[in-house]
């Protein structure tokens, strides 16, 4: 790709009005630039970024047959794209452009030392020219994106994402391991803050899925294998023993979560009157709740453990669920005594706080205990339970009769998640849930392009939160598919296959899984996945990896140009 002709660098030194010009002697810098090796042309501009300045760059490229361009002005972080664009318009590959920052890094910070600032500006220009002369054209790989998505999981999140994508005009393969859609919602009863039954909601969403011709439903199916990358994933499904191959452009993980079973905690498993909150939902749904006189609910069972390797997270929805179910029981059986034993009442936001107030008004008892002094459950001979708890608000030990003990346990990651995470090469966090690209700003993206996550597979959340997040995943997946092609990073690394000895160090270091060993054991970089950090190049034991646009030679040329020698 690199031509063996003598570099002809054009240098444009900007006054930036008075910002640079009042401190740095720009004409002196221009004169100095002209004297540098490989410089074919140099000029000063008042505002290089103005349309006038940009025209001058384009003219000079053509007139002087420039092979690279240096603009000495402000920071590349704001203006590099602008100048690169100008070079491209003049027929010069945009990676043959380099900037020298003589404003933010020079005139603005050495304003009281104009002589030193001018000398520094000259050296910065010399450094930029030294690197520029070694720059080579680069291409941004463009790949086609299949307009179809694989949605793994047919619960409320998977269904919402599938319907949204279908409405956006894409085709969807919805994969569900069970026979029916709906996930955990199939086992829930009434949903607060509305009076809707869970089954109504499931029905609504299932109808939307089944009636949409763009959604292909694969029930009793699991994902067996995934190869490829964004735009071109090759998926193999296992449909009741038979293999089915799919080609999709994007993947959404919506595999949900399981409810933690607190075996041997608080006599769970020993006594049939000790159930989880989830099991209580099923009892209520099936009408099997038999007129309980005393119900004691215990929060944070197996959650917020605060210990090394424990389940240390708060499962977000348990307090609201407990309060809702307490109110339901009070509605069904107004004489029942219902107590909720809690550490913190996590009824956040608008609606849950309201529910909490209602529960208090309905005489649900709220008893606060300390994490260090948890309640104890004892099973009596008649099968009922006694719950002992230290109420820290009244500073007293209480003994409660309970013919039903309900344990609020956290949501935990599903069994198949580990398998799936390996197949898709996406990470799982310390809390067991899938780990997104960036906790704040990319909550539904994985670091691996083209794969997204939503719902409780990501972390415990409510139904509206899951739906909003599912739409978010649909929006994010929709972007590359709407564009039909994506351009990926040009600044990537490349392995010299002759030098590579297959030690595999780079494979393990790459945070994007962009390097794999091929059939011969030689490392190869996937241009599409590589983000150009350069850690592989800096670490390769055989010095077999070069980083485009930031090769050792280029970086050293820039650095040592400041030291006077070449």
């Amino acid at each position: 790709m690199s031509e063996n002709k003598q570099p002809k660098v054009g240098v444009f030194v900007c006054h930036c009005g008075v910002n640079i010009g009042s401190v740095v002697n720009v004409p002196e810098v221009v004169k100095y630039a002209k004297s540098l090796p490989n410089v074919a042309y140099a000029e000063g501009n008042l505002y290089t970024c103005s349309s006038e300045g940009l025209s001058k760059i384009k003219e000079a490229i053509k007139k002087y047959d420039l092979t690279q361009v240096v603009v000495a002005s402000c920071t590349p972080r704001t203006h590099e794209p602008l100048f690169r664009g100008a070079c491209e318009e003049a027929g010069l590959n945009k990676y043959l452009f380099h900037m020298a920052n003589i404003r933010e890094h020079c005139s603005w910070v050495h304003a009281k030392e104009p002589a030193e600032a001018t000398e520094k500006a000259k050296e910065i220009v010399r450094m930029a020219v030294a690197k520029a002369a070694l720059l080579e054209p680069q291409t941004e790989p463009e790949i086609e994106v299949q307009p179809s998505t694989l949605v793994i999981g047919g619960g409320i999140s998977g269904m919402s994402a599938a319907v949204s994508l279908a409405h956006q005009g894409f085709s969807v393969h919805l994969v569900e391991k069970k026979k029916t859609l709906g996930g955990k919602l199939n086992e829930l009863c009434k949903l607060y803050p509305t009076d809707m039954q869970s089954s109504e909601i499931v029905e609504e969403f299932v109808q939307a899925v089944k009636s949409n011709p763009s959604i292909t439903l694969h029930t009793l199916s699991t994902v067996k294998n995934v190869e490829g990358f964004i735009g071109n994933f090759k998926v193999t499904l296992d449909q009741e023993g038979k293999d089915e191959a799919l080609d999709v452009g994007t993947i959404i993980v919506a595999t949900g979560a399981e409810v933690f079973e607190p075996s041997s905690m608080y006599c769970y498993g020993e006594c049939k009157n000790v159930v989880t909150q989830f099991e209580l939902e099923r009892l209520m749904k099936e009408g099997k709740l038999k007129n309980p006189k005393n119900v004691v609910m215990i929060q944070c069972v197996g959650a917020r453990e605060g210990k090394e390797g424990g389940r240390n997270y708060c499962s977000r929805i348990c307090c609201a669920t407990a309060v809702k179910n307490a109110l339901e029981i009070k509605k069904l059986y107004p004489d029942a005594e219902v107590s909720i034993l809690y550490r913190d009442m996590q009824t956040y936001g608008k609606d849950f706080e309201d529910c909490y107030q209602k529960a208090r008004e309905s005489f649900v008892q709220f008893i606060r205990f300390d994490a260090e002094d948890p309640p104890e459950v004892a099973v009596e001979s008649n099968g009922k339970c006694t719950v002992r708890v230290r109420d820290i608000l009244v500073n007293d030990n209480l003994e409660l009769d309970a013919d039903l003990v309900v344990l609020s346990t956290p949501l935990v990651q599903t069994e198949d998640a580990k398998e799936l995470s390996k197949m898709l090469k996406v990470p799982i966090g310390a809390d067991g849930f899938f780990f997104e690209a960036h906790v704040k700003l990319r909550p539904v993206d994985f670091a691996t392009d083209g794969i997204f996550v939503c719902g409780t597979a990501h972390s415990p959340k409510t139904i509206p939160e899951s739906i909003a997040q599912a739409y978010a995943a649909a929006s994010r997946a929709g972007i590359p598919m709407a564009l039909k092609r994506v351009r990926t990073e040009a600044i990537t690394s490349v392995v010299d296959e002759v030098l590579c000895t297959g030690c595999g160090t780079c494979v393990k270091l790459c945070p994007y899984n962009a390097i794999q060993k091929d059939e011969r054991g030689v490392a190869r970089v996937n241009d599409v996945l590589c983000k150009g950090c350069g850690v592989c190049a800096a670490s390769c034991p055989e010095k077999a990896i070069t980083m485009r646009h930031f090769s050792d030679k280029q970086v050293l040329a820039e650095a040592t140009a400041a030291l006077g020698g070449d």
Partner: protein, 439 residues
């Protein structure tokens, strides 16, 4: 018929929705009331639970909005009128005059250096000053100066004009008029964010009377390196570092007294974050958080709180203070509370500085937008979801979607997710309508 989307509100939710739509080829109009996009997130020092520098992760997105060929940013603008239906809304937007020509302004800041007038800086919650000609903060997007006519000497007294004289780009234009634009869009996304409840209404906490009682947003500006004190946490009364710092949760929230019974959802964790920042800056300062329930319900938040306790020795006290008194000599404070763990005995905690975590409320302007669009508000002024369970980002008006805090209290990751969710709905609208026109 239109294929573009209007987004009202340039905070992180509005920005996320804009970028999602613009990146898939949809034309976006992003309307923001203040001179710069960025919203609340730009005012924060660091974000929980990762302690990322807030503006560092936000600024690239702001710049991306500015440079994106599919996004037209209308800052310093407000929506005045909305007509039409889903697929074909006609919106009147009024652009207020900056008295600076945006195309000419290079953001060099020379005008700000020379302007003789100082005014309280809204971005710094009034703790620092700006000039009459100003940019709200250093990383403002667009980086264009704005003249505040209420404090500018030329507009109030007809004198000065220094900025016009020295502007190297001749960008000052005192004759600039408000501009009305009519936009034709297929759908609208509301992302107007939140304000803080005015805690001076709660006399027992002394905000507004006691100098060393501040709000959490004021704390963010003080601790932020780009804020009015260069990131030094200093007591407003004497400029000294506090030896003891107390955060008070739920100020105005979960109030039994009626106005704001809901939980603002983010304060427990941001107080934890601010405590960690305080300890980072001043490891010897004692830091306390007085709370009712420690609502660390999001991903990684409980672990964050555990870290604050074990690694940073932040003290968590389960208590809701009855009142705060001030020592008139030292200007330090005494907080009276019931110590729940010690049998609810009345106790007093001395504090050099107190940070109140106020209830966060939907913007008052939501009423105007509700009137203009027909979107329903709930009893607190939040925009109402069409169905709280099954349609969180839709509203009663087809084609108008909502996201972020203006829908209900939530943190940044949830706002970002909901914003992308609203973008998906807007994209669906466009796709469905184009399918219909094809038939």
């Amino acid at each position: 018929m239109s294929n573009s989307v209007l987004i009202i509100g340039g905070g992180i939710a509005g920005i996320q929705a804009s970028l999602d739509l613009a990146n898939r080829g949809t034309k976006v109009y992003l309307v923001e009331k203040t001179p710069s996009i960025g919203g609340r997130m730009a005012q924060l020092d660091k974000t929980f639970p990762t302690l990322d520098c807030s503006i560092c992760i936000l600024a690239p997105k702001m710049i991306e909005c500015f440079r994106h060929p599919n996004i037209t940013m209308l800052t310093y603008s407000e929506v005045k009128e909305v007509r039409g239906d889903k697929g074909d809304f006609k919106v009147k937007v009024l652009q207020k005059p900056r008295y600076v020509t945006a195309d000419k302004c290079t953001g060099c800041g020379t005008c700000m250096e020379k302007c003789p007038v100082k005014a309280p800086n809204e971005f710094d919650m009034g703790l620092g000053n700006r000039k009459a000609i100003y940019m709200p903060f250093k990383q403002a997007v667009p980086l264009v100066a704005t003249i505040d006519p209420s404090t500018c000497l030329y507009f109030t007294k007809g004198v000065c004009k220094v900025c016009q004289k020295i502007c190297p780009s001749a960008a000052i234009d005192y004759e600039q008029k408000p501009k009305e634009k009519v936009l034709n869009v297929s759908s609208i996304i509301l992302a107007t964010g939140f304000d803080a409840f005015d805690t001076s209404a709660m006399k027992e906490y002394g905000y507004g009377r006691f100098k060393n009682v501040i709000t959490s947003m004021e704390f963010e500006r003080l601790i932020c390196a780009s804020g009015p004190t260069d990131g030094h946490l200093l007591r407003p009364s004497d400029g000294k570092g506090p030896k003891s710092l107390v955060f008070v949760q739920c100020v105005g929230s979960r109030s039994q007294r009626g106005e704001l019974p809901y939980c603002s959802s983010v304060c427990c964790v941001y107080a934890t974050k601010e405590s960690i920042l305080a300890k980072d800056h001043m490891p010897d300062t004692e830091v306390y958080i007085m709370y009712m329930d420690m609502r660390a319900v999001g991903k990684g938040f409980q672990e964050f709180v555990d870290r604050a306790k074990s690694q940073y020795s932040v003290n968590y006290i389960k208590a809701h203070p009855g009142g705060i008194a001030e020592d008139p000599k030292t200007r330090s404070l005494q907080i009276y509370y019931e110590d729940i763990k010690a049998g609810c005995n009345m106790k007093k905690l001395d504090a050099d500085m107190v940070v109140l975590c106020p209830a966060l409320i939907p913007k008052l302007d939501n009423k105007k937008i509700a009137e203009a669009t027909g979107v329903e508000l709930d009893e607190y002024g939040f925009f109402k979801s069409k169905n709280q369970l099954t349609a969180p980002v839709d509203t009663n008006v087809a084609g108008i979607y909502i996201c972020g805090y203006c829908q209900s209290p939530k943190d940044i990751p949830e706002s970002v997710a909901q914003a992308s969710g609203a973008a998906a709905r807007a994209a669906e609208t466009i796709a469905c309508l184009s399918k219909e026109t094809k038939r």
